[in-house]
Symmetry: C2
Subunit: 194 residues, 2 copies
Amino acid sequence: MTAKSKDSRPGGRSARVRSAVHQAVVDLVAEIGADKVTVPAVARRAGVHPSSVYRRWGTTAALLADVADSRQEEEAPELLGDLRQDLERAAVWTLADLSRPGGVAFFRAEVAPDVDDRRAGLRACLERVSARFRAPLEAAAGRGGTPPSLERVLDRVVAPLYFRVVFSVPGTDERYARGLAAELCAEHPAGSSG
Amino acid sequence: MTAKSKDSRPGGRSARVRSAVHQAVVDLVAEIGADKVTVPAVARRAGVHPSSVYRRWGTTAALLADVADSRQEEEAPELLGDLRQDLERAAVWTLADLSRPGGVAFFRAEVAPDVDDRRAGLRACLERVSARFRAPLEAAAGRGGTPPSLERVLDRVVAPLYFRVVFSVPGTDERYARGLAAELCAEHPAGSSG
């Protein structure tokens, strides 16, 4: 067995490094803010050589984007089977994700000009947030309802949350996020039925 | 008269440098894209020494933000006196502004971690876009109507446009922008009257 195949084995050294580096990023973002996170600091905290981090991720921005990418898959709330409630939960989830320490900075990393694969990062970011809402919408359609389109949910629920968090508009809390989803559902009363 | 007071006189050397540098930025953004604009290239195009640009603006991001700040005040469309039409025009204006070459890059520059006064930049950006919609809303209220709140216009018209342009959502055109404004106005039928 070569060192290379050992490295890429699940649970092997490569996975352990990735996990340690990700955790170091999350911790440092919470402690000192995403703007101040550097590759040497991450490497020191993770107990790996900085060159391992540079080789694998290239830049701090790419590293932040990768962490953002893997973090947001973990916490999907279970569907309750009621469109309004499920969209409200997805809205609260999206807001919480954006509002956590470094949340907007993670998003900024993905749209920043200095991320090499910015387009891919943007697609991944949009797909990730879309997936949170696609599940409840498909479930509602499966129950025979006529839920709003995903595009409409992006316009009416997701876009205001992103805009308000990026621009720090006051009053953007959990209740507000639920209200955006509830108002949209009120326009699609058949969405919850079936 | 000292050199300093000469420099800060309107129409003086300082104003000429600012104007030449701004025009160079606009031209270069259109030609090579905002991501590739550098201070030396801007200085060369503007016919000034790079150190003048560094001293005054510091970074490319700060320079882009300053250009964005001054550009968007120029083009306000005249009010027609009908809320729906005026909001539609403001929506189209906002979309055009975001969609022009480098438009999103200008916005990115303002939210980028490397702009020193990022908070001030964000406030300025929000205030600028708000002003475009505040004028028609105040005019409608002055005519005795009950237009939607500015906050509602930001959620329903501005936020979707920003989100869709940043994430390159297909179909985000002038017609779409008008539709966002028209749909909101249809919920506030008294807004246009009076």
